[in-house]
Subunit: 197 residues, 2 copies
């Protein structure tokens, strides 16, 4: 039991939060990962910890991306929320591109939802893998990736999903990928999920 708890607490996640991020997608993911005992750092891509999201919800990040990705840090998963402007900011950030490339080189997990996969494309992450995304950005992605319309797609260490309505399934897929079915089921039990999930 103690060993299992220690193993659980060893998992770490980084959620990259840029202005314009989709707040439901970000918060559902952060909340569910923390319910699973994954140590989750919410990182602002600017020098301002207060991040205004796509529907004007302002979330206070735990740290800047720069501070949370110094050399000695590593994360079992790096999460890219959607929200078109937030995803574009991540697609345009050289510093975040380096974080993703290091994550891929180390064979650690990357998870992107909604418009988030455009940041994968921009930084040439997971080229050729099977992915999904919000339908509105499909056309940018389908030549570089095997495009799927499933609600969540896991291909190796790359997990992708489609939108606010799939965010819960996306978050649970990350939990399952890092911690297994049993932990996933523990997290879902008190959440009153739709019976079809």
């Amino acid at each position: 039991m103690a060993a299992a708890a220690a193993a659980r607490h060893a998992k770490r996640a980084l959620v990259a939060l840029a202005p314009g991020a989709e707040e439901m997608e970000a918060v559902i993911t952060i909340d569910v990962l923390r319910r699973a005992g994954i140590e989750t750092v919410v990182a602002s891509t600017t020098t301002d910890l207060l991040v205004p999201c796509s529907r004007q919800v302002v979330i206070k990040a735990d740290a800047t991306l720069e501070d949370s990705t110094r050399k000695e840090q590593h994360y079992d998963v790096v999460v890219i929320p959607g929200g078109l402007n937030g995803a574009k900011a991540l697609a345009d950030s050289r510093a975040f591109g380096e974080v993703l490339k290091e994550q891929e080189r180390s064979n650690r997990t990357i998870a992107a939802i909604c418009a988030g996969p455009i940041a994968l494309l921009s930084h040439q992450i997971g080229v050729g893998k099977e992915i999904t995304s919000h339908p509105s950005v499909r056309d940018k992605l389908h030549e570089t990736y095997k495009y799927s319309e499933h609600r969540v797609v896991t291909d190796g260490q790359l997990i992708t999903s489609r939108g606010p309505g799939t965010a819960m399934e996306f978050a649970l897929a990350i939990v399952q990928h890092l911690l297994g079915d049993e932990e996933r089921n523990k997290v879902t039990a008190p959440m009153v999920l739709h019976p079809s999930l």
Copy 2:
């Protein structure tokens, strides 16, 4: 078209955010109401606009509850998120109790999710109506209300729901209640909801 837009923008919501609120439930509701064009004020129940939620997500409120509920203000819906500590704070707040009582006297909508209905009980709102809640607080509620296990229950101007996994359905029920089916459907179209919703 202009008249329809004006009518839409006339709707206003207050989301009461206390420390310990369930951040998924709060953010899903705020985001979906704003997608529907409902002017949504996120109100901190303390004097600090930065509200630490149940899984350590910190949300910056738009205003204090005091400032957002001065005499001339009115809201078409007052929303009570869950999260046990957040709901207890709202149950214990005399100022919030007055907001709820005025809302009920004016026959305007009140919506509560998860542990949120314990604030209804504490302030004696909607006594005898049909409600639901998170299963864990059912025992406090079932003698004062007609207790239902449906995922969302609407009885007159009172809308209640069960947990993080029902928050999307809860938010959409508020949209439907205030603006009708057509607006609900406009909001859902780009969100990639589960086909069963």
